[in-house]
């Protein structure tokens, strides 16, 4: 599953986000995620892709930014 597809899936399934509101440009705040939920979402991403998001990179605004970060970390990992 691509990072975007995974995020879209998790957001609607686990975090009750309206699937129609999910787009690359949508900010996590617009999607109704508070700071605690964003941290929990990052945990889900780390578990799924076997990566670790450095703390200084953990403040993300949009889904596109989150996808770019995951892809960058996957590349660095060599996957």
């Amino acid at each position: 599953m691509t990072p975007y597809a995974f995020l879209a899936d998790v957001l609607s399934e686990k975090y009750d986000v309206d699937p129609d509101a999910i787009s690359p440009e949508a900010t996590l705040t617009e999607l109704g995620l508070d700071s605690l939920t964003i941290v929990e979402l990052l945990f889900d991403v780390e578990d799924e892709f076997g990566i670790e998001v450095p703390e200084e990179r953990a403040s993300l605004e949009t889904l596109a930014e989150a996808v770019a970060l995951v892809e960058e970390l996957l590349k660095a990992k060599g996957d």
Partner: protein, 394 residues
């Protein structure tokens, strides 16, 4: 709650044998668990951050608000408070956290663990779910938690700080780690020869200990003027509250401290002991606890103790720890409403050392009943007693 009371009155036991599995070992425990599904009452996202006790509290608060009519009319934002008793908060989440933390290799920890394990979680989630912005406070005092929550809410209303309070308790500690701790205390009941459901036997010669339960009960307390202003029909009246400490022993009860709480509650209600017709006892089914409470009741009431009906409904619903007093206060309300006293179930052979009318086996009609006590006593030597009065016909 009406249905719950009817079942308690009928002596229908909720105690069952539950298989527990931990560290690869299986064992049976006697528990009074709740088959709980919050359904649509808790949306998915907030539900992710609620421990079981919080979910139960939110659902109990929903029913209380609905039944009182406040859900439809809306609770004024700063006019209502939330006073909840809770012993262990999200203990199952703490257990899951430690399991992940201590695993080899350690597993990822949840960011939500810390706010989920707070004992104050149930009160906080009631506030957030129903938009109640008055004080949301938690009393965590073992088995008297919710008696004190209700008593302090009563005082807050009486002294004019609040007009409306959601008061009660929530407890969900039937997880393996917590149960293992309880088992080591040697206070839990063993299975009775006639079956698991007969194992909670307060005041009975064949008692072997207490049975742990779980759940949440929330009451709506209102000042008389607030209730009248919205045309609410009161179910009962809280007229007195007494609270004391034994300053004696961590786990052993003390008749002096218990009698002190009862006496203070009667004084608070400006009531002579002779006016009381029923005591919903704390009695959990431990030998020492039952006997000390019986002695304390006798010391408090003197010869009137012979005229009192005293029953322990824990014989059917078990001991809900932080939620116990709220359940028992609610059952006492229903007792006064219906004029029916629930029995001490399983009381086939009364302990002669508990020389009171403990309403053995069969509930009874008591249409003249006007005042009742609800007793709660805790590890640590905390004692709390509520005095309730039948609602007067409007």
């Amino acid at each position: 709650m009406d249905d719950v009371f009817d079942r308690v009155f009928a002596g229908e036991s909720a105690v069952q044998k539950v298989q527990i599995e931990a560290n690869g070992l299986r064992s049976d425990m006697l528990l009074s668990p709740v088959d709980f599904d919050p359904g649509h009452l808790i949306p998915k996202l907030p539900g992710r951050y609620m421990a079981r006790a919080s979910k139960m509290a939110v659902v109990a608060a929903h029913h209380a608000l609905e039944r009182s009519g406040l859900l439809l009319s809306g609770v004024g934002p700063a006019e209502a408070g939330i006073y909840i008793g809770c012993g262990l908060g999200g203990s199952e989440e703490l257990q899951a956290h430690y399991e992940r933390y201590l695993a080899d290799p350690p597993r990822r920890l949840r960011a939500a663990t810390t706010p989920m394990i707070m004992a104050s979680g149930p009160a906080s989630h009631i506030s957030m779910t129903y938009g109640i912005t008055g004080p949301s406070v938690t009393y965590s005092i073992a088995c008297v938690s919710s008696a004190v929550a209700i008593g302090e809410a009563f005082r807050a209303i009486r002294h004019g700080y609040l007009d409306t309070v959601l008061a009660g308790g929530a407890e969900a500690q039937l997880n393996t780690g917590t149960l293992a701790g309880w088992r080591e205390l040697s206070v839990l009941a063993t299975e009775h020869a006639t079956g698991a459901e007969a194992s909670s036997r307060p005041f009975d010669t064949h008692r072997t200990g207490l049975v742990l339960g779980e759940g949440s009960v929330v009451l709506v307390l209102e000042s008389e003027s607030a209730a009248q202003a919205r045309g609410a029909e009161p179910l009962a009246e809280i007229v007195g509250y007494g609270v004391s400490s034994d300053a004696y022993n961590l786990t052993e009860p003390c008749p002096v401290g218990q009698a002190c709480a009862m006496r203070l509650a009667l004084e608070d209600a400006s009531l002579a002991g002779e006016r009381i017709g029923y005591v919903n006892a704390h009695a959990t089914g431990t030998l020492l606890g039952d006997r000390v409470e019986a002695e304390a009741i006798r010391n408090t009431f003197g010869s009137h103790a012979d005229k009192l009906a005293v029953s322990s409904t824990k014989s059917v619903h078990g001991h809900l720890i932080g939620a116990a007093s709220a359940l028992e206060a609610a059952l006492t309300v229903r007792t006064l409403q219906t004029g029916r006293i629930a029995p001490t179930a399983n009381l086939t052979d009364p302990d002669p050392e508990c020389d009171l009318d403990c309403v053995p086996l069969v509930g009874r009609e008591a249409p003249e009943l006007e005042y009742a006590l609800s007793n709660s006593f805790a590890f640590g030597g905390s004692n709390a007693t509520l005095v309730l009065r039948k609602a007067m016909a409007s």
